[in-house]
């Protein structure tokens, strides 16, 4: 089992505030790894620090055997690691057609055969060629998230970072997007790092998960442990109770 992504003792400071306080985790090649936590727990900062959107002051980061520091990433990193953001309304350029949105990463990374690649990418995410020359405001939230996933998959990455990919969507659309992501992972043998506040989603999608609180990893457990309730942290229990809905006592 090779390690796709390894974080050791990572510290991210915003002025005096430690958004990530010495976090360590390893994600194996082909694994689907979940991160659960509430707002302010540092889960999004973790993804941003991996991609270089946020710099880290201490610790080390190794992706596919190469180590990276601070905010510098090479071109190979930007192709093999792709990210899907939470808000499909904010993450697509409003003045570019879907065609243009998908073309840009292909040009940047010097892919050939762009026409066929764009058509195939749209097919793969379940949008026909009829969507190719539309603007993002002409699409629904679920369709936009499909475009965002197509944009990530089109450069043939090996690692996908998913930052709450379905929390802005209706429950029925969420199911479609989760199925699409699982299918893509199976077909392409991708490694997922998925962030969510919803334990149900994480337990459906992932094999292992880390629970985060105030910038620290509270614990890392396999998903089966949630089902059997074999975990130690009180905070994990609170999240689990909260995910079961309201109870009148």
């Amino acid at each position: 089992m090779t390690t796709a992504l390894s974080i050791d003792n990572m510290l991210v400071l915003y002025e005096d505030f430690a958004a990530l306080n010495h976090v360590s985790l390893d994600v194996a090649q082909g694994e689907s790894f979940g991160i659960v936590g509430e707002s302010g727990s540092g889960k999004s900062t973790l993804l941003r620090a991996i991609t270089g959107l946020a710099g880290f002051q201490e610790g080390s980061l190794t992706v596919n055997g190469r180590s990276y520091g601070g905010r510098q990433r090479d071109k190979e990193f930007y192709r093999t690691v792709q990210m899907v953001f939470q808000d499909p309304y904010g993450s697509l350029h409003p003045r570019q057609t879907v065609d243009r949105l998908l073309l840009e990463p292909l040009i940047i990374h010097g892919f050939d055969n762009v026409d066929a690649r764009i058509a195939r990418a749209l097919d793969e995410v379940g949008l026909g060629s009829g969507f190719r020359f539309r603007y993002s405001h002409q699409l629904s939230g679920g369709q936009r998230q499909r475009v965002a996933i197509a944009r990530a998959l089109i450069v043939e990455p090996t690692i996908m970072l998913l930052d709450e990919p379905t929390s802005a969507l209706d429950a029925s659309i969420q199911a479609e997007i989760l199925n699409l992501l699982e299918q893509a992972r199976r077909d392409r043998d991708l490694t997922f790092v998925m962030v969510s506040h919803d334990l149900g989603v994480i337990s459906h999608m992932c094999e292992r998960l880390a629970v985060m609180k105030t910038g620290e990893v509270v614990e890392t457990v396999p998903v089966e442990a949630l089902v059997k309730r074999e975990f130690s942290a009180e905070y994990t229990r609170q999240l689990l109770v909260a995910s079961e809905g309201f109870r009148r006592d």
Binding site: A171, L239, A242
Partner: protein, 281 residues
């Protein structure tokens, strides 16, 4: 729960239409229900008309829209024929509404205390010190541990959960008969969500209010409410008692229940909701 002793709200054949460039869009298409002093949930996806139903009852529909109904009665008053001035007096006093995100629905340039005092003074002739005492008591009732401090804070200085409690305090300070909560906890973290619901639940049952709880989260609504209306494309497709949610007959309700990922569910791929055109008829 006790049976509804008297009807608080009667909605019969409520319709809300919006004129658009391509013709009339009917957002709510003939919704009927009655509400006593109970907790009623309205569930549906975005665009199902659940929020517009709530807004029409409050009288907060945008002015270009047309609201019609056979009956829209609150207590013994007809809301449709009531003059706007009377309706304004009713809002905040006897009818109140909690909105989704406290960040956008509290006034950013007024302290929390002043906003709540404003509500109180609009509806009651009351002195300054008495208003302050009532507001502090209300803030305490929504379990804000240090009401004196929070009274003088601006909305950006408090967390989402605290802001939503302040909003609940503002809505309940005049002692309304009916509270409409439109996604009151969707913007909050899961653990905070339960605290806020707990406060809401206690206050609603203590004060014997009627509650309409609007949400997209079927599981949450079914654990919180007595009765659930499921809306699809502007219509109520099914009415259920919350305890019998799993006996849902309509394929849309069943689909909504099935498509949620569950811990230990192990269903790959997740069942997907297949929308049938005949549901919208």
């Amino acid at each position: 729960m006790t049976a509804p002793d008297k009807t608080l709200l009667t909605v019969d054949d409520l319709r809300v239409r919006f004129p658009t460039r391509t013709g009339m869009v009917e957002a709510v298409r003939g919704v009927s229900f009655t509400l006593g002093r109970e907790r009623l949930g309205i569930v549906g996806e975005s665009g199902s008309g659940k929020s517009q139903t709530g807004r029409a009852i409050m009288g907060l529909t945008p002015s270009q829209a047309q609201v019609t109904a056979r009956t829209l009665r609150f207590g013994d008053r007809d809301l449709l024929t009531m003059p706007a001035k009377d309706r304004r007096m009713l809002r905040g006093k006897r009818l109140a509404m909690i909105l989704q995100d406290p960040k956008y629905s509290l006034n950013p340039v007024m302290t929390i205390g002043r906003q709540i005092v404003e509500t109180l003074k609009t509806h009651e002739s009351i002195g300054r010190s008495e208003a302050r005492t009532r507001v502090l008591a209300m803030l305490e009732a929504v379990q804000i541990s240090d009401p004196e401090r929070v009274f003088d804070l601006y909305p950006h200085e408090v967390s989402g959960g605290m802001g939503q409690r302040a909003m609940i305090a503002m809505m309940l300070v005049c002692g309304p008969d009916l509270l409409i909560a439109d996604e009151p906890t969707s913007a909050l973290d899961v653990t905070v969500q339960l605290e806020v619901l707990d406060i809401l639940d206690k206050l609603v049952s203590e004060r014997g209010m009627g509650l309409i709880f609007i949400s997209h989260d079927l599981r949450l609504v079914s654990t919180f409410c007595d009765r659930v209306l499921v809306m699809y494309a502007g219509k109520v497709v099914e009415e259920l008692s919350a305890a019998n949610l799993h006996d849902a007959q309509h394929p849309y309700t069943q689909g909504l229940l099935n498509c949620l990922p569950q811990i230990g569910g192990n269903r790959h791929p997740l069942p997907v909701l297949e929308r049938k055109p005949e549901w919208t008829l």
